[in-house]
């Protein structure tokens, strides 16, 4: 389907482009974080911005996440629109109060008299042996707590549109990008994430899921990297004559339960794919959202393919054992068949 006039971008470049476009039209936008200036971000998503916008608006910070995320909240309340980076989502533990108790709650505490127009972008995920403190997903952790919108693009088109939408939002948005989708070769990269991206500015709606593949027999619901695993699994299932629908959640908060429910109502079966820890997270929420609504649509017990409840091991064989992958999704389908009610 590649058109000759297609301009393919990596997610990293799509993020940087959206940022640059907003910065050109809105002087209140600025970027801060660790290594986002001269280095252009460890994951490339601020590359080129320092040259165009200078060190006042593209600010490297000390390794002081509590201070600079807290500062972003104060600046956002004071008329600026900060885009702030938490280099790895895994580092939230040193600064989460600034995120969940300030950024997420100050609109509410002010009764809506304040706006907190800021974006917290943070890298998630992995599968490149970075060990237990450097490639968690933590979708559930962020999505569980009120007051933040949470988005997680699976491809460059959405990445650009979500970034623009997030920067224009007057509420805080957590923008979780996946390292394995960034298009940084040194991390390995999922080719499917690098897609056509229009040059002009546009938005992708926050809170709207997308059916990225239509199907009849099973709904595979996921986000970020999981969407690519789901699409690959769908191909494998197709070879077996099974028609899988794939839902890309795009946003975790607000969660588009309508789209999920409509898909499952059609297919009658649900597999949730989540690279985050299995329990008390995304996979449970999606299943509950469907089942609390209407169990009669389900032809089989729903399934999850998620990261087991263990710290992320370093050794490649262990790490890959834990990660969701297309084969595990296919296996989930196979088990599901067996569990069909008579």
């Amino acid at each position: 389907m590649t058109k000759s006039n297609e301009r393919k971008l990596t997610i990293a470049r799509a993020m940087a482009e959206a940022t640059a476009q907003e910065m050109r039209i809105d002087p209140s936008v600025f970027v801060m974080g660790e290594d986002i200036a001269a280095l252009g971000g460890v994951y490339g998503n601020t590359r080129g911005l320092l040259d165009e916008f200078g060190a006042e608006r593209i600010r490297d910070t000390p390794i002081s996440e509590t201070a600079f995320i807290g500062a972003a909240v104060g600046a956002a309340q004071d008329g600026m629109r900060p885009l702030v980076e938490l280099m790895f989502v895994d580092f939230f533990g040193v600064c989460f109060d600034a995120i969940y108790n300030l950024m997420a709650k100050n609109i509410y505490f002010s009764g809506g008299n304040l706006k907190v127009p800021m974006v917290l972008m943070t890298s998630t995920g992995g599968g490149y042996s970075d060990g237990g403190q450097h490639w968690q997903c933590l979708y559930g952790t962020f999505a569980h707590l009120p007051g933040m919108k949470v988005v997680a693009p699976s491809n460059a088109y959405d990445a650009k549109g979500l970034m623009t939408a997030a920067m224009r939002d007057d509420s805080p948005v957590v923008y979780m990008y996946h390292k394995g989708l960034q298009g940084m070769g040194w991390l390995g990269t999922e080719a499917g994430a690098t897609v056509h991206v229009p040059e002009e500015s546009y938005t992708v709606e926050i809170g709207k899921a997308k059916v990225v593949r239509e199907g009849r027999d099973v709904s595979i619901v996921s986000v970020g990297m999981g969407v690519h695993n789901a699409l690959k699994a769908a191909k494998k299932l197709e070879e077996k004559g099974i028609s899988a629908e794939v839902v890309d959640l795009v946003s975790l908060v607000p969660l588009d339960r309508e789209t999920i429910r409509a898909s499952v109502a059609k297919t009658g079966r649900l597999i949730v794919v989540d690279e985050d820890y299995q329990s008390y997270g995304l996979s449970g929420e999606v299943i509950a959202s469907v089942t609390e609504h209407d169990i009669s649509v389900l032809k089989a017990a729903p399934k999850r393919v998620a990261f087991p409840d263990v710290p992320i091991p370093y050794a490649r064989v262990m790490e890959q054992f834990c990660l969701p992958n297309p084969d595990k999704i296919v296996a989930a389908w196979d088990e599901m068949g067996a569990l069909q009610p008579a």
């Binding site: 209140s28 600025f30 006042e56 608006r57 910070t61 000390p62 002081s64 996440e65 509590t66 201070a67 600079f68 995320i69 807290g70 500062a71 972003a72 909240v73 104060g74 600046a75 956002a76 309340q77 004071d78 008329g79 600026m80 900060p82 040193v94 109060d97 600034a98 108790n101 300030l102 100050n106 609109i107 509410y108 505490f109 002010s110 009764g111 809506g112 008299n113 304040l114 706006k115 907190v116 127009p117 009120p146 007051g147 919108k149 939002d169 007057d170 509420s171």
Partner: protein
Amino acid sequence: MAPTRDEQHWMYRNMVTSRRFEETIAKIYFEGKSPAFNMANGPIPGEMHLSDGQEPVAVGVCAHLTPEDVVTATHRPHHRAIAKGVDLDKMAAEIFGKATGLSGGRGGHMHLFDADVNFACSGIIAQGMGPAVGAALSRKMQGKPGVAVAFVGEGAVNQGGWHEAMNLAAVWNLPFVCVIEDNAWGISVAKSAATAVPTNDVRAAAYGIPGERVEGNDPFAIYEAAGRAIARARAGEGPSLIEVETYRLAGHFMGDAEGYRPEGEKDGLFEKDPIPAMRARLLKDGAASEEELAAIETESEARVEKAIQFARNSVDPAPEDALTRVFAA
């Protein structure tokens, strides 16, 4: 630079207003909470942290501020809010959890936000620091006037967020002042048991900025130290730190029996109550007449009375409004 006569009156007025406000709140706080004291009951539920005795810090600092300047405060916010000019009616209504409150009852006593005068709080120790530094950054980037002041307790200085924010303000040379209200206690833990240095002014050296210590809970000395720091910030010369010795005349929160205080410590404190002291001083200096002071007091009381009436007479929020204003409109 000493405060002008007008400023002295302003300071006294705000100290008295704060004290009267809290005395009134304290009385009402017990309504509905007897015979059994249960925090959840009465017109003012929840924790209540009073600032009695600490008023000099708020007025000595805020005398230098205008509404466009930014202040962040803590779980103990009333004196600072009043000195910063937060709308007293709406503040009272907020503490009563009414629809007319600053945030329509969503925030409460520890979360007083008044965007009109750039006042904000956090109930988490030291977490007002980052937002204040960020506001200072915002002003610098926008080329707009205004300094940011974060008030914290001496206990907060041992919190990581305090250190990070001080360093950030210093390395970016921001118009920021940190004011430490040293009331000697963090709940039941004495400063000496928590802080490795006797006074926190020395910690300014860790950021290459000026640090001052003001002894004696003296509004005039506080005014002068704050004046220097705020002038410095306004002139683009960067942040400073001031630690003020002050006294917590009330318990940490209402209901605190303070069994942890050394015998007799409290009695000594009441003798040092800064409000009568300031009154006497104004008279002695000839800075105010008995009549002027009486007028200030009457006026302050009336203002408090009005605010409390406003709060009492206001309606409760609609319960389901709890679900609104999570995100910006």
